[in-house]
């Protein structure tokens, strides 16, 4: 046995704190680097669980003051603690208003803990050891090393959103802010609506009795084009759709009796007809797609998009930059050969799995697709579900992939892998396996050791930093100095969510891309908005939205830290003076037939002209009433001018 004498002696010397001071936040003793002894965990429990996981009964409190920017390591992983089971929470702030900056449960030997946090000069942090597992005494060590506080990446503060065990973070009321969506029972959808001034308001909606629960996965999107997001429940015996009624009050079920052992679900316009279809991975048979007839009625079709079993993590994104969403399926178990299918249009797909090295029995439940080197195409991190043998593949821009020599020794296997920019530095990060891999923007990553659990991701406090939800707890991103942009697509010719749109943002930092997706990772539904981190950039050179319809919208010279709402076709040049004052107030827009011009009676009898997207005259006539019948126009974006009325107005004919 090792000689523990000096260590124990050191612990005894340092532990000169008041005997009972550790029992509350307010009386937490100030400690310095070195060893400290906890006799038993008997004080007040922590108010927040930075580690996630079940609550504790008691805690022991300490304070630490940073005199310079440091990385602080708090560890119980010491030989003398063998057999003890600890958990650590670390906060900044004041006792009445604590903010999580880190924590750990089992990062040390066996059940011992090692928490590493960044602390700025002059900041006091609170360290709490809780008794979730046991209240036995132990020794802990604190050590600091100079470093910038953000070296350890983003940190999150948990907030208990009681009852909102959210499967989705998606805007459910059209206010361009993400909301929480959960399914507490088979006749209930519970929304947590983000309020403009902050906070979350619950709204419970009774649904028809769900044929299947979203036990395996969940996704959302507007199937019937009424600008209300509908829900897809992926259950163990089948899949069912909850179609939200146009007034938002309730849901109508579109259920299917066919057996599906559902895994990942997605909504995507597979045939690019402007209407969302859906896709369901099948664990034990061929994959299923649900094709939309244009009226929101779905048809069950099995086969053609992966015929063998073992389908776990599907994701639709434009892999070969041809404007159509392609399909990747992470596979595991009975046929562990991942599938990559290029969408050729008209529901024709080409299997390019073999040439991209996917037939190697890599056991994966999900893959993170993003432009990790910001060169304008989607690269992929295929996460292993069994160990740290993850695959990182670089896209050459045409959907040809080469393996990147990279190892991730600090990671483990996980069924969930997603990518987002959590620290807004302009480089995509990867979340999975209880870790965040911080992207360096060049297909390399720095593993941030710290407890995060995958869940749906979005901005739940409208601060421009991405938050996540896990187990009824919202983990609010503590943010940093970096800048950001949120793009909210409003499709007109394309599906209303703009799912499948490619959004390109240029700033001094470089060029970044996102595809709007419904359903990534394995289980959850993350925001349908495109979130960009901009690092130090406060100005944006341009934003370009490539819609599934082929329409391209282009914006220049925008400020950062804003929400850009893009109505499809709204920037199309018509050759007409777009800067002119506002013209007629058209509605409905888009329209199928009749267009109300919205002008006072004195304009009756005047003439109007309608121009198509290329600026050509498409229709003209006399305004005899306030209504123009445009049913004869081909679908597209048009501009209306009325004689004697300044400016012009755009509308979309569906």
């Amino acid at each position: 046995m090792r000689n523990l004498g000096p260590l124990l002696l050191a612990a005894a010397l340092v532990a000169t704190v008041p005997a009972r001071g550790q029992l509350t936040c307010g009386t937490a003793p100030l400690i310095a680097d070195g060893n400290h002894t906890v006799a038993q965990v008997t004080g007040q429990p922590p108010p927040l669980y930075c580690t996630g996981g079940a609550n504790a009964q008691h805690g022991m409190w300490y304070r630490y003051q940073a005199t310079e920017d440091i990385n602080l390591t708090i560890s119980t992983s010491l030989p003398e603690n063998a057999g003890v089971d600890t958990r650590i929470q670390v906060y900044t702030g004041t006792c009445g208003n604590l903010t999580c900056i880190g924590g750990d449960d089992d990062g040390g030997s066996v059940y011992l803990s090692v928490a590493v946090v960044g602390v700025s000069a002059g900041t006091t942090c609170y360290i709490v050891f809780d008794d979730r597992w046991d209240d036995d005494g132990f020794v802990f060590n604190v050590s600091s090393a100079p470093g910038t506080p953000w070296e350890n990446g983003p940190s999150f503060t948990p907030y208990s959103a009681s009852g909102h065990n959210a499967l989705g973070v998606v805007d459910m009321n059209g206010d361009n802010m993400d909301d929480l969506v959960s399914v507490p029972g088979n006749t209930q959808v519970l929304l947590g609506l983000q309020q403009a001034g902050g906070g979350i308001q619950s709204q419970s909606i009774t649904t028809p009795q769900a044929m299947y629960m979203p036990s395996w996965s969940f996704c959302a999107g507007d199937i019937n084009g009424d600008r209300q997001n509908d829900l897809l429940y992926g259950g163990g015996s089948g899949a069912t759709f909850m179609i939200r009624e146009q007034d938002g009050t309730g849901f109508v079920q579109q259920g299917f009796p066919q057996y599906i052992f559902s895994q990942r679900t997605n909504m995507v316009d597979i045939d690019n007809d402007g209407h969302l279809d859906a896709f369901v991975c099948h664990d034990v048979a061929a994959n299923v797609r649900f094709m939309n007839d244009g009226e929101g009625v779905l048809q069950f079709i099995q086969g053609g998009l992966g015929e063998t079993c073992g389908n776990y993590g599907s994701l639709w994104t434009d892999i070969n930059n041809d404007g159509l969403p392609d399909l990747f399926v992470a596979k595991c178990g009975c046929d562990a050969h991942d599938r990559m299918l290029f969408n050729q249009g008209n529901e024709v797909f080409t299997d390019v799995s073999a040439q991209n090295g996917l037939l190697d029995s890599h056991q994966s439940w999900s893959a993170a697709w993003g432009d990790f080197d910001n060169d304008g195409d989607m690269d992929v991190f295929i996460g292993s579900s069994t160990n740290n043998n993850h695959k990182l593949l670089r896209n050459d821009g045409n959907g040809n992939f080469t393996p990147v020599a990279a190892t991730f020794p600090e990671t483990s296997g996980s069924i969930e892998w997603t990518t987002h920019d959590f620290d807004n530095d302009g480089s995509l990060d990867i979340m999975g396996g209880g870790r965040i891999l911080l992207g360096n923007g060049d297909l390399t990553f720095t593993t941030r050791v710290g407890a995060v659990s995958n869940g749906p991701v979005g901005d739940l406090n409208n601060d421009g930093f991405l938050d996540y939800v896990n187990g009824g707890t919202v983990h609010y991103n503590n943010g940093n100095e970096n800048h950001w942009l949120r793009v909210v697509p409003l499709g007109l010719l394309s599906n209303t969510n703009g799912i499948g749109a490619r959004i390109v943002v240029e700033s001094a930092l470089g060029t970044q891309i996102r595809d709007i997706r419904s359903g990534d990772g394995f289980r959850y539904m993350s925001s349908l908005f495109a979130h960009f981190g901009l690092g130090p950039d406060t100005a944006i050179t341009s934003v370009t939205v490539h819609w599934p319809s082929g329409v391209v919208d282009h914006f220049v010279d925008l400020a950062a830290d804003t929400v850009l709402v893009v109505l499809e076709g709204s920037t199309i040049s018509t050759g007409i003076d777009d800067t002119a004052p506002v013209g007629p107030a058209l509605h409905p827009n888009p329209t199928n037939g009749l267009l109300h011009v919205g002008l006072a009676g004195e304009h009756r009898g005047g003439t109007y002209r309608i121009f198509d997207a290329a600026g050509r005259s498409a229709m003209q006539g006399r305004l005899l009433t306030d209504v123009i019948d445009v049913s004869g126009l081909a679908p597209g974006t048009y501009t209306l001018q009325v004689t004697g009325v300044a400016g012009s107005s755009r509308f979309v004919k569906q």
Partner: protein, 367 residues
């Protein structure tokens, strides 16, 4: 199914029949002295024509169908350790054409069933409310033809007069008074065809789970008295005679058996069909077949789980059921976390208590 695949299956069937015919004269065991020749089996099943629409059409049973009284040639059997399926009771039967018999394939191997063999398993509950009556839910059937196993399933009608072919999958609520005197409820799952294959699959091919000598080597009370099942099978011409002595697993409910053996037996029948090298979940580290769990690592002792569920550090963490993924998964009904994934929607409390007792007495710590 493609036409070519059908053709192959049909051809295999013809080959099998030819082989059978050739073997027949040599292998038919003449009745022993004093044993009357068994009556010809009235069973009506030609697997070449596929399954019937009604269970009654097969003539597997005589008298009132719901009594499941087997006709000549249909033999009931039972397992030492049955799979837990939401407390459903089960009655198993086997039938084979007179000309064929199963072959021994090792103590732990599935009996090597011949073409034409039929395995039947009827799932039912007693003291079903209201009425406190027996309710037969479904009769699952596996039959071997063309060298492959095929599924059929028969869902019993409300009148309990017959069961109708249905491989679509459905749920049916069942409420019954248990042997504990308490009212129980489940939303019983009748599997779809592809669902059957999730558990009944070995090396990618459909396969039975139960009929292995180690799980069949027990006495059974037949109409004509008690006999060892495998001996009876041999005597009835269902199993090639002269098989080696079978070594039974322990009965997991046998409180006199060593605790770890009871756990191993429970894991074998409930988990081993997926968690084996040839099973559906072979990419996870556990190996739960009875022969393999003599190795503590195959039981998951001190093995870290692949998937991260809060606080579960090992598949089995000695003395720490609260840190053991095995206990966690057996102790939850959450569909995406529970184990087994299929066939269970309520907790098997008695088994959980045994697993907890077992974990408590293992020796910590893990390295």
């Amino acid at each position: 199914m493609s036409r070519s695949l059908r053709t192959i299956i049909a051809l295999m069937g013809i080959v099998a029949v030819l082989v059978t015919c050739r073997k027949d004269p040599d292998e038919t065991v003449p009745p022993g002295p004093g044993t009357p020749a068994p009556p010809a089996s009235p069973v009506n099943f030609d697997p070449a024509n596929g399954p019937h629409e009604l269970l009654s059409t097969y003539n597997f049973y005589q008298g009132t169908l719901a009594q499941l009284q087997p006709v000549a040639g249909v033999l009931p059997y039972a397992l030492i350790d049955p799979l837990f399926t939401d407390h459903a009771l089960k009655q198993r039967h086997v039938w084979m054409p007179d000309s064929v018999k199963a072959a021994w394939n090792g103590n732990g191997g599935l009996l090597d069933f011949p073409d034409g063999a039929v395995l039947l398993k009827t799932f039912y509950y007693d003291q079903v409310q209201p009425g406190n009556v027996r309710r037969l839910i479904e009769t699952r059937m596996m039959y071997r033809w063309g060298g492959e196993w095929h599924f059929a399933n028969y869902v019993w009608n409300d009148e309990q007069t017959d069961a109708v072919a249905d491989l679509g999958g459905s749920n049916t609520p069942v409420e019954w008074t248990g042997t504990d005197g308490l009212l129980h409820q489940v939303d019983y799952r009748i599997p779809a065809e592809a669902e059957c294959g999730a558990c009944h699959k070995e090396h990618g091919e459909h396969a039975p789970v139960g009929p292995r000598p180690r799980n069949m080597a027990r006495p059974y009370t037949y109409a004509d008295g008690v006999a060892q099942q495998l001996d009876k099978w041999a005597a009835e011409g269902l199993l090639e005679p002269g098989h080696p002595p079978a070594v039974p697993m322990v009965d997991w409910q046998d409180g006199d058996a060593p605790l770890q053996d009871r756990v191993r037996a429970y894991l074998d029948i409930n988990c081993g069909h997926c968690h084996s090298a040839s099973g559906y979940c072979n990419y996870r580290p556990m190996r739960f077949a009875w022969e393999e769990t003599t190795d503590p690592a195959n039981l998951g002792i001190c093995v870290e789980p692949h998937e991260h569920i809060d606080g579960q550090t090992h598949i089995v963490a000695p003395t720490r059921a609260d840190r053991s993924m095995m206990y966690y998964r057996l102790n939850t009904n959450e569909i995406s976390q529970r184990m087994p994934l299929l066939g269970r929607s309520v907790l098997h409390t008695e088994a959980l208590e045994m697993i907890e007792d077992w974990i408590d007495q293992l020796t910590p710590p893990c390295e």
